[in-house]
Subunit: 450 residues, 2 copies
Amino acid sequence: MSYALVQEEIKSALQVKTNMTKKLSELLQQLQPYDISEILREMEHRERLELIGSLSIPEAAETLEYLEPEIQYQILHHMHDSEASPLLKQMSSDTVVDMLLAIHPLQAEQMLRLLPEDYRKQINNMMTYPEETAGSLMTVDYISARAHWSGERTIQHIRKVGLEAEIISYIYVTSVRGELVGVVSLKEIILADPKTHLSEIATTDVIAVPADLEQEEVANIMSRYSFVSVPVVDHQHRLIGIITYDDLVDVIQEETTEDFQKLGGSQPLSEPYFKTSVWSLFKKRIVWLLILFIGGAYTANVLEGFQDATEKVVALSFFIPLLIGTGGNTGSQIVTTLVRALGVGEVKFQDMFRVMGKEVLTGCLLGVSLGAIGYIRAVMMGVEVEIGYIVSLSALFIVLWASLVSAILPLLLHRLNIDPAVVSGPLITTLVDGTGLIIYFSIAQMILHI
Amino acid sequence: MSYALVQEEIKSALQVKTNMTKKLSELLQQLQPYDISEILREMEHRERLELIGSLSIPEAAETLEYLEPEIQYQILHHMHDSEASPLLKQMSSDTVVDMLLAIHPLQAEQMLRLLPEDYRKQINNMMTYPEETAGSLMTVDYISARAHWSGERTIQHIRKVGLEAEIISYIYVTSVRGELVGVVSLKEIILADPKTHLSEIATTDVIAVPADLEQEEVANIMSRYSFVSVPVVDHQHRLIGIITYDDLVDVIQEETTEDFQKLGGSQPLSEPYFKTSVWSLFKKRIVWLLILFIGGAYTANVLEGFQDATEKVVALSFFIPLLIGTGGNTGSQIVTTLVRALGVGEVKFQDMFRVMGKEVLTGCLLGVSLGAIGYIRAVMMGVEVEIGYIVSLSALFIVLWASLVSAILPLLLHRLNIDPAVVSGPLITTLVDGTGLIIYFSIAQMILHI
C-alpha cells in the first residue's frame, strides 16, 4: 500500500469541510490503526490532531499506541481535557507508562491528572519498575474473576469491563486478597456449561512471573509454553498485571538486536541507531576496540620474535594477512553459530565433547581444502615451492586451531554464567591472530631450517 | 522445576498398579503439557505410551505437539487405532503436516487413514506447500462463520466446533463460496448485543496473506499489526487456513538464527546444530571461506608490492596484524549494527548520508583514541619514533576508511535487494585488510622517504 497516496487523499478530505466526515471515514475504514499511525507520523501537527479527532476512541487509542511517546504526548497535550481523558484511559497501561517515563516529570504529572484516582495510583506504581523487567512490560488492563462465579456471570463481567482489556483470551481467578489462584481461558468458559463455576474449570497451578524477573526470562517462559499472556505477581503472589504476546515479540526483537551488536564486538546500544549520539556510539565501541587493540598488540612481539625468519625470507611476510584472516573467519563462523545455539538452548555445556568432535572434523575438511588452494596460490605468485608447502600446512593447522578454540570458548563462558555473546567475531579473530602467527612461523622454521 | 525428580515420581506411579491413576493424575495436574513433553522425551518407549494413555485427549494432543515428529509418529503408530485416531484429529493440523512430511510416505499414508476423509483431503493439500511459505505454517483448525449469523448463533457454533480450534480469538466470515469477506474478534462478539449480526461488527478490509508468501513477510505483517492470528487465502481469496502467533515466534527465531550464521560468514544451516552433519557444516562454511580466501589472497600481492619497504625497515611488518585487525574490528561493529537496523526497518537507503556522517564522526573519535594508544605501544616496544608516528597515523586512517566502507556497503546491498547480511564480519574484514595495508605502507613511505 502506498502510504503517500492515501495520505494525500486524507489531507484533502480534511481540508474540504463539506462532506468531509463521510469521505474521510470511508478512507479510514479501509485502514488498520497501524496504517493510520504510519500516515499520521508524516503529517503536520494540526493535521494530526484533526485526524485523531475524527476517529472513535478505541481506534484513536490503538493508533496512538504505534507512535513514539513524544508524538503521543504532543497530541494528547493539545487536545481538550474532555477529549484527552477518555483517550488516555483507553490506551493500554504499559503504553501510557512508557509515554510518561519519556516526557518531563511535570508534563507527566499533568497527564496523570486526566486519569481517575485508582488508575492513577496503578500507573504511578507501574512507573517504579526498573527497565527490562516483567513489571516494566506489564499492563493492568486484564480481566480477573472470582472462583465461585459461573461462566455466565463471568461473560457478563467481560461485557462490562472488556472494552478496556488488552486481551480477553484468559481470565485470571483471584482471591479476596487479590492473590492469583487460577486461570481459565475464554475458550474453556464458552465450551463449558454456562452454569459451571470457574473453580471447576480453572487451572490452579498457574505459571506466573514475579514483577522483578528479567524480560529475557519472561520471553523464554512465554514462548516455551506458547502463552498469549502471562500473569505478573508481587511477592505476596498478588496479581498486579499481565504481559501480552505482542510485548513478547518486542522483547525477542530487542534482545536479538543486543546480541547482534555484541557479536559484532560492540557493547549493545540502549537506543535505536539514529537516537544514539556519536558520543554514545563512541563509548559503546571504544571499550572492546581498546581491549582488542591492546590485547592484539602482542602480535607485534610475536613477529619481532620471528624477525630473523622474516629478514631471511621476506616472502614469508606476504601471507601473514591471508593466513591469520582465514583463522579469524573460521572462528567467526563457529562462534556465531554456537552463541546462537546456546541462546536458544540447542547446545549445552555437557555437549562440549560432541561440539569439539564435530568442529575439529569439519575443521579438518576445511583446512585441507584451503591448504590445497593456498599451495596453488603461493606457487602462482612465483615464490619458492617450500613457501607453498608452508602456506598450505599453516592454513590447515590454523583452521584446526581456530576450530578448537572457537568450539570451547563459548561453552566455557556459558558455563561460567558469562554471556557467550562476548566471544564476538572480533575477539576470536584477535585471539587466533597471534597463535596463528606462531603456527605459521614455526612451520616455516622447521621446513626452511632457519 | 527439576524434571528428573518429577519423572522419577511419575515412573513409580506408573509401576505401582494400585491407586496408580489417582497418584499419577495428581502429579500430572501440576504440570503443563510442555513440561510433560520434556519428561516424556527422556522416557523409554513403553513408559511414553502409558503416560500419553493416562492423559485426556486434548492434554495428550498438546503434549505431543511439543515433541519431535519422529517421537510423535512412534507413539501414534504403537497405539491402537481407536486411540490414535481421535488424538491425531485433536492435534493441530500444522503439527500433523510437519509429522507426515518427516516420516516415510508409506507411514504417512497409514497415519492419514486414521483421519476422516474431508480432513484427510485438507491435510494432503497442506502437504503440498513449499517450506518457509505461509501455506506450510498454517493450520486449518480455525473457526469460520457467515455474515448473517448473530453473535448468539456464532457462540453456539463455537461451542460445537471450538474444541478443535487452535485459536478462537478471531472468527473469520466467509461467503458461500468460501471467500474471506470479514473478520470479527470474539471480544467484539461478546461486547456487542447477542442479536447483532456479524455483518454489522465485522471488519471487511481483512488483511490476509496468500499461501505462497514467504514466512519472513508473514512474520513482518503479524508483528507490525500485533495479530494473534492471520488468515491465509488462495488465489481466489478463499480462506484456507490461519497462522497463529506461536508460529510467528518460531519464524522470528528461525530467521534470527539464519541471520546470525550469515553475519558470522557462513551460509545458514537448514537444521539445528546437532542434526547438521559434519559434511553439511563443511559445505555451508567452505563457500564463504573460499571466496574470502581467494579474495583475501590479493593482500599477498599488496605486500609483495611493498617488499622494498619491508626489507629496509623490517619493524614495519610487526604491526601488520594489529593494524588490519583493528580495521576489521571497527568494520565488524558497524556492519552488525547496520544489518540489524536495516532488518528491523530502523535504517533505510535514503538515510545513507546520515549514516555516513554518523559513522565517519564516530570513526574520527575512535581513530584518534586508538592512534594515541598505538603510538605509545610502538614507542614502548623500542622501535624508532618514526614508526610510532606511522602506526599512530595508520590506525586513524584505517579506522576512518573501515567506517566509511562499512557504512555504505550494507545500505547499498539492501538497495540492490541483496540481503545485507552477506556483508558479514569476515567479509568486511577481508575487504579492509588489503586497503588497510596500502594505507599503512603509503604513510610509511611518505614519512620514511623510502
